[in-house]
């Protein structure tokens, strides 16, 4: 009933023909062919059996009416019991089989979608909101699997309809026509119901979405709301949104709740018509009273399947839509894949960028003609304005994206020829934007090397100068962290993320503003410890701190996607180019001169 009627569309959505959708759906079902055969047999059996219990009642009535006594009724009663119980057993077995197949299919679809997510290009995650991707894995897979249930019911109802109808015709064709006269009403009601439900459900769902979004944001931004004493106003705003949902829910209920009573009304007209016309037939000796009894008993077995067939048709349509959404996400094009014969080997750490061009959006060049050779063990600092393309270089080395033109070689071999998983495991990237998993601090540090000993862990903790604050946590290393490391400051999270990478002992280390939120003193301590560690590793450091930059072997200055300068601190300052300009704007205020300069501001 609660079908999604309006789905959001994404860039990767595509259209599939019904044939393609069905054949793919059946592929999920093929492992359960035996079960499916069982389900079909069950449906057929229950459809045929369904007409017998009422017929038994009719026969018994005839027997009694003829004054044959209860002994004559005995076989009918027994048959009634056996057939009804048989029907119940079939339904139980059907229910169990459908549940098993449905749950297996849901699981299969979810894991396949999940695997496809793990393989999708980074670009996919850059452009698609998490909530929407999640909804496809959870809601749509559920909807798709529910289809199995609905299709089963649909077929079952259809069969039941046909058998009941045929039986009615055999027993009395005149009364059958009266019964059939209700069909158009049923269809009109079912059709209207579908339309109205779709309309009102859309509004209602949108309103619910609003409530959820508002709720989520209020909880996420709770500290701001508290800091500004804004609770009362937030409550006021939420009341309005919450009330809107109630309003749409009421509207929808009015429409949706109308349909069954209406059907009930139609069924009453049916009872009315059958008894009246039936009586007339009896008086004309064209039917016996027991026939009316049978028709009254069969009426619901005719009417309800009819209503369901009419309304399930739309549910099946939305199941198709869900299928399309799931397959779209599974099939979303993947650009970055392993080569046919991937190279797996231990790398040394020589990096060569040859005429590298890159763009995320066609026409907007992020990197232009980058040529750079980095020797094993060398330490390179990359500086430049925001948007100069520094982080892009890091992402390209990790093969998060494939370069647009040119080539990046590691130990003389193009990046794309390596097994990308093997390659990534030998490159360590510490990003500015830290992501920690919920779990303990220890779990997080060990993330890249699950079998690391406690000594190894302690060693990297010392390198990143994190021992002190970890000790101060309620349970030390075993302190549970909240979502995304909630409960730690930005600097502390960076230190843990740094330790996590160091533990994997990478050949190439990329630090992308890795310690931006750590204070200068701690950073200096890290730097000192790191110097030893980096001795025989290649490192690329994207930094904003003077200390770090000065410590590197070579400084690369990027501007609008191009390397504009290269050299060491002193020579670059002397040159008076972009570096010296950057120094003036970004780095200088970490020097003593700047401190006296800005003192004037406060001196007033």
């Amino acid at each position: 009933m609660m079908r999604r009627t309006t789905g959001t569309t994404e860039a990767y959505d595509r259209k599939y023909s019904d044939i393609v959708l069905l054949s793919r759906f059946f592929k999920y079902l093929t492992p359960y062919v035996l079960m499916l055969v069982g389900i079909v047999i069950g449906i057929l059996a229950s459809a045929v059996v369904t007409i017998f219990p009422p017929t038994m009642v009719q026969n018994a009535f005839d027997a009694l009416d003829a004054g044959e006594g209860w002994i004559a009724v005995l076989p009918f009663a027994l048959w009634y019991l056996l057939l009804s119980l048989f029907l119940w057993v079939i339904q139980v077995v059907l229910g169990i089989m459908v549940t098993i197949v449905t749950q297996k299919v849901i699981k299969q679809i979810q894991i396949e979608t999940y695997i496809s997510l793990q393989e999708h290009d980074m670009m996919f995650f850059d452009t698609n909101a998490t909530g929407r991707i999640m909804s496809r894995v959870t809601n749509d897979s559920q909807e798709l699997a529910d289809m199995l249930n609905i299709v089963t019911q649909f077929i079952s109802n259809l069969f039941m309809l046909v058998t009941v109808l045929v039986w009615m015709f055999i027993v009395n064709w005149r009364l059958t026509f009266i019964t059939l006269a209700m069909a158009p009403f049923v269809f009109v009601v079912a059709f209207l119901f579908r339309r109205i439900t779709r309309l009102t459900t859309g509004d209602w769902r949108a309103a619910i979405g609003e409530v959820n979004a508002s709720f989520q944001e209020s909880v996420s931004g709770i500290s701001v709301a508290k800091a500004f004493g804004r609770e009362a106003k937030s409550k006021e705003e939420f009341t309005v949104i919450n009330h809107a949902t109630f309003y749409y829910a009421k509207k929808r209920a009015f429409a949706v709740m109308g349909v069954w009573p209406l059907m009930d009304g139609i069924s009453v007209i049916g009872v009315f018509g059958i008894t009246l016309y039936g009586s007339a037939l009896i008086f004309g000796n064209l039917a016996s009273p027991s026939v009316i009894l049978l028709f009254l008993l069969l009426l619901n077995r005719f009417l309800y399947p009819l209503v369901r067939v009419a309304s399930q048709f739309s549910t099946i349509q939305s199941g198709f839509a869900a299928m399309e959404r799931i397959f779209s996400i599974v099939d979303a094009k993947k650009e970055i894949t392993n080569p046919e014969n991937p190279i797996t080997r231990e790398i040394e750490g020589t990096i060569a960028l040859e005429q590298v061009h890159h763009q995320y959006v066609p026409g907007e060049q992020v990197l232009k003609d980058i040529n750079l050779d980095i020797k094993t063990g060398e330490s390179i600092a990359v500086v430049g304005h925001t948007g100069a393309g520094k982080t892009t270089i890091a992402s390209l080395l990790m093969r998060f994206y494939d370069i647009y033109k040119g080539s990046i070689k590691i130990d003389g071999v193009d990046l794309r020829e390596y097994d990308m998983y093997n390659l990534r495991s030998q490159i360590g990237l510490v990003s500015q934007d830290v992501f920690l998993f919920s779990g303990t601090v220890l779990d997080n540090i060990r993330y890249g090397k699950l079998d690391a000993t406690i000594d190894e862990v302690n060693e990297v903790i010392n390198v990143v100068a994190a021992q002190e604050f970890i000790d101060a946590l309620p349970d030390g290393l075993n302190t549970e962290l909240g979502e995304r490391g909630k409960g730690l400051s930005a600097g502390q999270r960076q230190m843990i993320s740094f330790a996590r990478t160091l533990l994997t002992d990478p050949k190439i280390l990329i630090l992308d503003e890795a310690t931006a939120a750590v204070d200068a003193y701690t950073e200096w301590k890290i730097q000192e410890a790191l110097d030893k560690l980096l001795a025989n590793r290649t490192s690329i450091v994207i930094a904003h701190r003077l200390t770090t930059i000065k410590n590197s072997d070579r400084i690369i200055v990027l501007d609008q996607g191009q390397i504009v300068e290269e050299g060491d601190h002193d020579s670059l300052i002397e040159k008076g180019g972009l570096y010296s300009e950057l120094y003036e704007t970004y780095f200088k205020h970490q020097s003593a001169e700047w401190i006296s300069e800005i003192s004037d501001v406060f001196a007033d």
């Binding site: 018994a60 009724v73 009918f76 009663a77 009634y80 119980l85 119940w88 139980v92 229910g95 169990i96 098993i100 749950q103 979810q110 894991i111 997510l117 959870t138 709720f215 989520q216 944001e217 209020s218 909880v219 500290s223 800091a227 804004r230 609770e231 919450n242 109630f246 009421k250 209920a253 949706v256 709740m257 069954w260 009573p261 009304g265 009872v271 009315f272 009246l276 009586s279 000796n285 039917a287 016996s288 009273p289 990534r424 495991s425 490159i427 699950l450 101060a472 309620p474 909240g482 600097g491 502390q492 931006a516 204070d519 200068a520 003193y521 701690t522 904003h544 205020h589 501001v601 001196a603």
Partner: protein, 603 residues
Amino acid sequence: MGYKIWFVKHLLKEKLLLIILITFLVIFIGTVSITPLFIGDIFEELVKETGQVTKYLLSNGFHTIQINSSSFKAILITALFIGVAGIIRAAADFIQSYVDEVLAHKVTKNVTAEFYNDLLEKSQEFHDRVRIGDVMARATYDTRQMNIFIAPGIKFLFEASFTLIFSVSLMLWISPKLTLLLAAALPFYIIAIYDYNRKLRPISKAQMEQNGLLNSRLQESITGIRVIRGFVKEKEEINQFDIETDKLRDINTKRGIISARYYAVAITVLIIALSFLWGSFEVTAGNLALDELITYVFLMMTLMMPTWQVGWTLTQFQIGMAAAKRIFEMKEREEYVPESSSPIDWAGSQGTILFKDVSFSYNGESTRKKALNNINLEVPGGSTVAIIGNPGSGKSTLMKLLMRLYDPSDGTININGTNIKEMALSNLREHIGVIEQEVFLFSKSIRDNIAFGKPDATQEEIEHFAELAQAHEFIMGFENGYDTVVGERGVTLSGGQKQRIAIARALLIDPSILILDDASSAIDAETERKIQTAIANVLKNRTTFIITHRLATIKNADLIMVLRNGLLIDSGKHDELILRNIDYRRLFERFSELPPMQIKEEK
């Protein structure tokens, strides 16, 4: 108060709806139960008319229908009764179904609002610990489950009980003897329902928990995709997800099987067959009329629906109550910052602050190291205070205590001579402006974000403070200016831009105390100078706390607090500290990379 009482209270709040619901339910069930009586009447007439001989004739020819007028009239009248009863029934059904839905949505709305309001008042400690995904699961999925329990659950519950009462009374009236059968079956029904319930309860709970777990795992693996890639953990993540989905599949399958095997329905079938048999016996014996037997059988059949409804409602009852429990439990956790019963108003515009023996440890645990230990300091009103220290030294915590996001475990904080515990929370926080380390902006327009603390601010005010915070220029650079919605359609703000909006937001409320927790180094020197100027101008004679790594700010502060692992190891002006405190000197050396000598010379 238990969660069940809480839930019932919410239901009882809507007395009018409940009364309408029950009234129309009674009408609905009454008309449903009465229809078999009319059907019985019709058969009485028919049997009377056709006598004992009703050999079934399958005739293809069209015969003239002869109507016995008196019998037909009687049948017509009875059929009309069926029709009228049917219309009343349909109308009553509609009203009761609709009212039940309204009741459900009303209760959901009230529960959601109550939950929301409660969460806003919960302490920051609570929010630090709780997962947003968990809160959201309770606010959305769980409230929905409660909703479904009310509509159609409660309707079903009443329907089933009323149908039972009506039908059974009618059955008793027709044949008390036959009804004995039903009474005999009662223990079996109870066993069936009890058994069903017992099996289902743990499964419902497990299902809800596993569902939540799967969702948060999925969310984490999408938001953390870069880390997963970077560490090549795809296989592990897939394996883990595989295990979790397997668990959920098994739970769901088990639940489906239990639902399918609900055997109370089979008992009803058995009773119908036995009633028919016994009824035939009674008819043969002349104790029961044939039409009465038909009425009886039709009445028995009206019991099929309630049998099924009871099963369904029980399932949903389990789920709905588990959901109510989850919401209630989170709501009931007594984690509020206590409000003073007779609050003292903020006095004076400047904030003279006195920290006296202030200690604090998170989660109220004193066994571990304290986050803050015995802080004593007086901050004169209007001074600029720089707080420095290593990560985890307690800088941010101290500021949270000042805003009363937490209360100190020991000691007191006084502002202008008043203990902050004695002020009203809202009054205190109104006077404190804060610029957070990680700026959180709401996905509203930039205008609404700046005016967050003062929703009735004029456009001039907003622009004025945006200009002061050096934000006006880049805001005007957006296509929609101040109406640009944060985070929408690719409008992502850089760290520096966010910080400047946060500064404007904090300045707009004209605070007496300003807290600037500064983690971003993303602002270039020129902008920084402008912001510094802005802050210096606007906050003259106001107390400002700055947590920073910026040397210029530190050096120019009126007071520097040097924290280390929760201890205030020293405080004073730069000139004093550089002379007397080795730690500070070392810190400053590293900051500025100057040999100690040079700094001394400079001085």
